[in-house]
Amino acid sequence: MPLPKQAWARLLEETDVFKQTELRDEVVAGLGRKDTEALVAKCRNGSPAERYAAVGVLMELARRPGNRFPASLRRDWADVVTSFAREQFPNTPLGVRSFQAWRELDRGAAESYLVDDFPLENARAESGLLFVIGQLRAFGSERAGRKLRKMKDLAPTGKVAEELEAALGVLEPPTKERLAALAREWRAKRTGPALDRLFSALMKGKSPGTVPIEEVIELLGPPTNRLKRTLYYEPALVIEVDKNQRVVGFHFA
């Protein structure tokens, strides 16, 4: 095939995933139209290793600006990766990679599939469920959150439960109980990460000028220093307020 031969051959043989990334870039750098056609064909008809590598290379090509990935070839390739994703996600590396490619090509369709059509029982291992959770978290929408909540209701255990909790913590607004728990943690530990978790939760989704500083002080306690409109909390949080004493800025520095 007319692909940049050396880099492609090395990519197929390379087992180190980080070196694979370098080699993928190398292949992309040397791709011409015929090479791209050959890669799309490899996705359809290649060996498992060739399919996996070819999907990765074409993902990277699709991210590059310009017209190096002709629209007709891109459509063909989209059909292939969508098919792989439906058949194999999240149970094989090719399925995982293909779903990601689908997401990058058509975010809405990939999300709809995962939220509405993907049967959870298709995830045959914990690692598969973790990929499902990761993708739903990355979509970040309300309906993705509802799907995660449904998964949580199935009472999973172990790593899956932990990841679900973390994902829901990102997607759902913090409850009063959650804020109170974070405030207790901050007051007990007085560490940067505890301060970050609390303040981040408090400010989640808020716009500048909407949160009264009293609300912050109530949770964080009195600041270490206060100078005019600037409050400082050890170890690192600077908060600015406007003339109405509402938070207009913050900075961990």
């Binding site: 490619a101 975010r107 990355a138 990102v170 989704g205 800025g249 913050f250 961990f252």
Partner: protein, 298 residues
């Protein structure tokens, strides 16, 4: 203000001894146009090129922290004397801020435009740190200057001066080095090719800001994101924050993320483990791993 100037003076004194830009690239991805990667270990690099007990202490700590990172390679470049001189101009007076910005950012920006975009109070204020940056970008755009020349915008965030990073980044860019150390909030880098980057200051609330605010303001065409890591000590990004930020960036077609670690900061094993674990996830998905850059000033 006094704190900012004090910080800058200490930088200035170190600048006199020469500046060096080091990049440690996780994943070993080559840095386009950079000097060839050097096979030296970090310690040997420091011994050969720089010397100095205090420096060695920092370097040793960093070496210990990063030695087990897969695919780690080292590249370095010492700044030229004229670059150091540029830094010297920018450290002691507000007038020099303008001088530096004019030299670094865009010589055609008029004083009036600059004043309009950056009032003194805005320029020096901390807070979100983005407003001034974005206004300045706005001036450049309204000035008809396309994103096609070498620009480096790196305004002070909060009360810290970032002049040396600005100049280092600028000069790295002019030599074609694609790693950029600028880590003031809103650092935007554009060069003659299609390589654009945007910096992000060290906020562990970065996930929130990227998702809800800054990410929506990334100019079209930005290809990678420079994210300051490990400052202040103890405020480290965890796996969840890494995911949140990179996922949000992906939706803006920004796939490449580089962490900058400043001289003297010691990446914790916890943080490195989080990055390494996340990178394993990313490459499985066919995505690009997060890279780590080390910025040293000596």
């Amino acid at each position: 203000m006094s704190k900012r100037l004090s910080s800058s003076r200490s930088i200035s004194s170190r600048a006199a001894a020469g500046f060096c830009l080091l990049t440690l690239v996780l994943s070993g991805a080559p840095v386009s146009g950079a000097e060839p990667f050097c096979p030296l270990t970090f310690r040997n690099l420091v011994m050969k090129e720089l010397g100095g007990a205090e420096l060695l202490i920092n370097a040793d700590k960093n070496l210990k922290a990063v030695k087990d990172v897969p695919g780690l390679k080292v590249a370095f470049r010492r700044l030229r004397q004229d670059e150091v001189a540029l830094l010297e101009q920018g450290v002691d007076a507000e007038q020099s801020i303008e001088t530096l910005l004019r030299a670094v950012v865009n010589p055609n920006v008029t004083k009036e435009e600059m004043a309009k975009a950056l009032t003194k109070s805005e320029f020096l204020r901390g807070g979100f740190g983005q407003g001034a940056d974005e206004r300045f970008i706005g001036v450049l755009q309204s000035n008809g200057t396309p994103f096609s020349t070498n620009w480096m915008i790196n305004l002070p965030a909060g009360n810290r001066g970032h002049y040396f990073e600005a100049a280092a980044a600028y000069n790295a860019m002019t030599d074609g080095i694609r790693f950029l150390p600028g880590y003031g909030s809103g650092t935007l880098v554009v060069n003659k090719s299609d390589v654009l980057g945007m910096g992000f200051t060290a906020l562990t609330t970065a996930g929130e800001r990227v998702q809800g605010d800054l990410v929506t303001k990334i100019p079209t065409g930005v290809r990678y994101f420079d994210w300051k890591a490990q400052y202040p000590p103890g405020l480290e990004y965890d796996l969840d924050q890494l995911r949140r930020v990179k996922d949000a960036l992906m939706d803006r077609k920004v796939e490449d993320v580089i962490f900058a670690i400043e001289d003297g900061s010691v990446p914790s094993q916890t943080w490195l483990n989080a990055v390494t674990a996340y990178n394993a996830e990313l490459v499985t998905q066919g995505r690009n791993p997060i890279r780590i850059g080390f910025v040293g000033t000596f």
